[in-house]
């Protein structure tokens, strides 16, 4: 175990782009746990941590919704750790009564078995009308028909004392689709991810609270060829447990203008992202601040590389290697000294 002070590190694995690691049901969690151990302080987002019925809680990991992570990286938000959040539950009116009961029972189970503070519960005043779509590059995006209904319910929860919000929207079932079959067998894009991100981004932006989303879906028939990376989503009736656990200790989002003594981007010592997905807001903001970017080989749909953007990065062949590089930075070891050949210094002309 390192005795050096923690090196706050950002881990970004964009949602809905089919990453080999992190493109499924929280299957980047082992990498996140390793990076948390190496850095002593890891800031990451629900796509990395959410495994539906599976989750991991680690006081060294800060669970921050994607758009808040972008604003943190841009220096607009600070993160203030808390002992426990009061997680309000926002349910889409489009969820059928039986499925709604399943979600309420999951919330009760998390209260009774894990000691989480969940409630109150608000149901939207109309169905949210979520629809799914793919962008020009094939990445998952998605739409929400009733934006105002979502925000009204969120404001109601905040006024009732919720300090974080778990939102469950009814997503369209499409059990026969080729895209779903490919995803379950480990070769496709998570078609739900883009719409999920839009919903949590909207709420978090509007309310300034930690937010995360779980889709409500009918159970799928058994697939004997299920890829292990997608298995976390087939263990129960809902995707909600990981969201409640993640939010229960998510840091408060503090506007940087308040100058609170909280964790800010100035303290961050590294950002880790897939080598082909370096064109997101958080990574670019970090790169522009001179924060070392560790670009990990993690195949995905995109080829937005360091070379194509003209970014200087530290390459890593795997998340294991990235963890070693983070530990080197934490211990004050220059990563270049670990590679061979090691070019000799040259005089400046």
């Amino acid at each position: 175990m390192s005795t050096a002070p923690p090196l706050p590190t950002l881990l970004v694995i964009p949602t809905g782009i089919g990453c080999a690691v992190g493109g499924y049901a929280g299957d980047a969690l082992p990498a996140a746990r390793l990076l948390a151990a190496a850095s002593g302080c890891l800031i990451t987002h629900p796509n990395v941590m959410n495994g539906a019925a599976l989750y991991w809680s680690d006081s060294r990991i800060h669970y921050v919704e994607g758009s808040s992570l972008d604003r943190f990286a841009a220096g607009e938000l600070l993160l203030q750790p808390v002992r426990q959040q009061r997680v309000g539950l926002l349910l889409d009116a489009g969820i059928e009564p039986e499925l709604r009961h399943r979600h309420l029972q999951v919330a009760d189970g998390c209260r009774a078995t894990l000691g989480l503070d969940v409630g109150p519960v608000v149901i939207t005043d109309r169905s949210l009308e979520v629809s799914l779509s793919l962008g020009a590059s094939g990445v998952s995006w998605g739409q929400l028909g009733q934006l105002e209904a979502l925000l009204r319910a969120g404001r109601e929860l905040k006024a009732a004392g919720a300090t974080a919000i778990a939102v469950v929207a009814r997503f369209p079932d499409d059990p026969e689709s080729e895209a779903l079959a490919a995803y379950r067998q480990g070769s496709g894009v998570d078609a739900l991810a883009g719409a999920e991100a839009v919903i949590s981004h909207l709420l978090s932006r509007e309310l300034g609270l930690p937010c995360a989303h779980a889709p409500a879906l009918s159970p799928l028939p058994l697939d004997p060829d299920l890829d292990p990376r997608a298995a976390g989503e087939e263990l129960g009736f809902t995707f909600l447990p990981c969201v409640l656990v993640g939010l229960s200790r998510a840091p408060d989002l503090v506007p940087a203008a308040t100058r609170a003594a909280a964790l800010g981007i100035d303290a961050v010592g590294a950002v880790i992202a897939p080598a082909g997905a370096l064109g997101g807001a958080a990574v670019l903001a970090c790169a522009e601040r001179g924060i070392p970017v560790i670009a990990v080989e993690n195949p995905c749909l995109l080829e937005v590389t360091a070379e194509s953007l003209g970014l200087a990065v530290i390459p890593a062949a795997s998340y294991s290697e990235a963890a070693g590089l983070v530990l080197a930075l934490r211990e004050g070891i220059a990563p270049a000294a670990l590679r061979r050949p090691l070019p000799a210094l040259q005089d400046q002309p």
């Binding site: 758009s67 962008g135 020009a136 739409q143 934006l147 925000l151 932006r205 937005v304």
Partner: protein, 69 residues
């Protein structure tokens, strides 16, 4: 306070010198309040700046379903 409609936006943008993030945010903001964006492709061109493909979702009061610029 957020209000309006969600709208997907697809942009092609010539890379300029200076902050790439600021350039993208300004281009996306011309279509509404940016909610989510990413560079999803980069086309290198001989003797010209790289062409960036940006996919975004904005909040807008407009009624068009898809912008292309």
């Amino acid at each position: 306070m957020i209000s309006g409609q969600l709208r997907p936006v697809l942009l092609q943008l010539e890379r300029q010198s200076g902050s790439l993030r600021s350039q993208i945010e300004a281009a996306v903001a011309a279509h509404g309040a940016p909610l989510r964006w990413a560079i999803t492709a980069v086309q290198q061109r001989a003797d010209q700046p790289a062409l960036l493909q940006i996919e975004a979702v904005v909040v807008s009061v407009g009624d068009r379903q898809q912008d292309e610029a």
